[in-house]
């Protein structure tokens, strides 16, 4: 990454500008700015490092030297107990539950929202904008509003204490954002392409399935990633719907572990860290999609 001179075109070009940039970088305000960035970075990393390293300590170490980050003696049993030992069945069950809920919710949201966004983007019919606004409406109010009636509704549908009872509402709540992001993307695909497909005998569904969706793959990846993050981290709805350690998703499981074993801090840290890892790995691979999705939609729900 070469240093760019684009900031300094007010003075000169070439070597002069580069010198200018270099001097600006070493200026006092520049140093202060860099110091601020470093401070914020430390503030972000500190809790994560504390949690990871804390998982390698004994409770005795945590209590005796609370201000020392590095373990005086490395203990692996906290992590191995969660991953392979005593708590492994519960942990892996909860990880699987999270995967199931996220999988169903995301597949459903992306499939249904693609259809709806296709209609909103490329078909003209009376009432279209009204229906579209109905979905946009879903972005405008806090989803917590629906929690109590959802609990009743899911119970009446016979889905309480069932992962579907979480996945279906999650999918429904993810629809507005997904549709709002997909519609302009679907709209941007040239009409000529659709005309050409029709002349070649393509049906509407054929165009949607064989031409539009493949072209929209980047947008589909973006909305899928956003929906995964949203579903994976969901807490309120699973808290209300799911019963017992075997049904909980990871955030719920981690919270209940932390209250149940509150005196065993090192193990709580280990459990929490292990339950965070999927999210961090996912972030490492999908950061680009998450950012492009959030900045294009600029809507969180």
């Amino acid at each position: 990454m070469a240093t760019s001179a684009s900031r300094t075109t007010d003075t000169a070009v070439g070597a002069d500008a580069r010198r200018e940039v270099r001097s600006r970088r070493l200026s006092l305000p520049g140093l202060i700015a860099f110091g601020v960035l470093i401070l914020v970075a430390v503030a972000i990393l500190f809790p994560l490092v504390y949690a990871v390293l804390g998982g390698f300590k004994t409770n005795g170490q945590l209590a005796a030297n609370p201000g020392v980050l590095l373990p005086t003696e490395w203990v692996f049993s906290n992590y191995t107990d969660v991953l392979f030992g005593e708590y492994a069945p519960t942990f892996w069950r909860q990880a699987l539950n999270s995967v199931i809920v996220a999988g169903i919710a995301v597949a459903l949201t992306v499939a249904l929202a693609s259809g709806a966004a296709f209609v909103f983007a490329r078909m003209v019919f009376p009432g279209r904008e009204a229906f579209y606004l109905l979905f946009v409406f879903g972005l405008l109010f806090p989803s917590a509003v629906a929690i109590l009636p959802l609990y009743i509704l899911v119970r009446e549908l016979g889905l309480s204490a069932n992962l579907l009872g979480v996945a279906l509402p999650q999918a429904a709540f993810a629809l507005p954002l997904t549709i709002v992001i997909l519609r302009p993307f679907f709209r941007s695909i040239p009409v000529e392409l659709e005309d050409a497909a029709r002349i070649d005998g393509c049906s509407t569904f054929g165009f949607f399935w064989r031409i539009l969706l493949p072209l929209a793959r980047p947008a589909l990846a973006t909305v899928s990633v956003l929906a995964i993050v949203g579903t994976w981290n969901a807490f309120f709805l699973p808290l209300v719907i799911l019963n017992g350690a075997d049904q909980w998703t990871l955030p719920l499981g981690a919270m209940n572990f932390s209250t149940e074993y509150s005196s065993d801090r090192a193990r709580v840290l280990a459990y929490t860290v292990v339950s965070i890892i999927p999210a961090i790995v996912f972030y490492a691979f999908a950061e680009r999609q998450i950012v492009s999705g959030l900045t294009s939609g600029s809507v969180k729900g």
Partner: protein, 310 residues
Amino acid sequence: MTAISRPARRRSGPSTRWLTIGLFLLPALILYAVFVLLPVLQAMQYSLYKWNGLAPLTDFVGLQNYATALGSKTFMTSVGNNLLIVVLSLAIQIPFSLALAVLLNRRFRGRAIFRLLFFLPYVLSEAVTGIVFSLMLQPHSVVDSSLSNVGLGALVQDWLGDSTLVMVTLFVIISWKYFGFHMIIMLAGLQGIPRELEEAAYIDGASRRTAFRYITLPLLGPTIRVSIFLSIIGALQLFDMVWVMTGGGPVNASSTMAIAMFKAGFRSHQFGYGSALAVILFLCGLAVALLYQRYVLRRDTEGAVTAYGG
């Protein structure tokens, strides 16, 4: 659904077109109607009854639940706490995010790493964030002892147990998790502003500060307003982190509207009263959305909220 079939009857010719529209739109519409719209309407209905969530819905009490809510000290504390988070977010978190976005909009080695790092907390769940911070903030844990180690032992507090301090502590943790989100949005907004505009200002003799104040900031307006809107909606429905860290305590000092609603429904089995709280939450959100729509959205281009790319 009836709205779709009505025009179809009028124009029976292209019925396959309507069939297509129906097949594409109805599945999403049904799921959305059942799990989003219906519950919101049901909350409005339940809020007019005294109801424990199990017995038949018969005990109609009119607006009494709302009167109870507005007279409830606990609920008013909760509303106040939500407002406090809104105010602190707008006064501190948003300007802080903007400042960092401006810093990261300069080109320098390593800025991609900062961006990646600052945004990282956004993908962690509020629940696990809350667990880790709870452990750090316990008395004699890492925060207290670090303060003592650097000679600031006098600043040690009961961070989550002190009823006047607890909301501020929670706000700091909320900011830890969400400032990166707002920063990313504003960074995208900054990058959408053509460099030439600022450069032209420099050529005309403007200082960097003047150029920022009169060129960049106004052009960033739509982005900042989106950020503000999302921040308010988020602050209104604050639940997960508070529930994990304090459960609304000590003695309701950190209760929020969503916490009060949850407790009414699932601790006291007052589903009617809880629904009234939900409707009040809904009205707060709606008021914010309408104000946004009325005063903000109209001024901004459609692109700020919906356009892809940008």
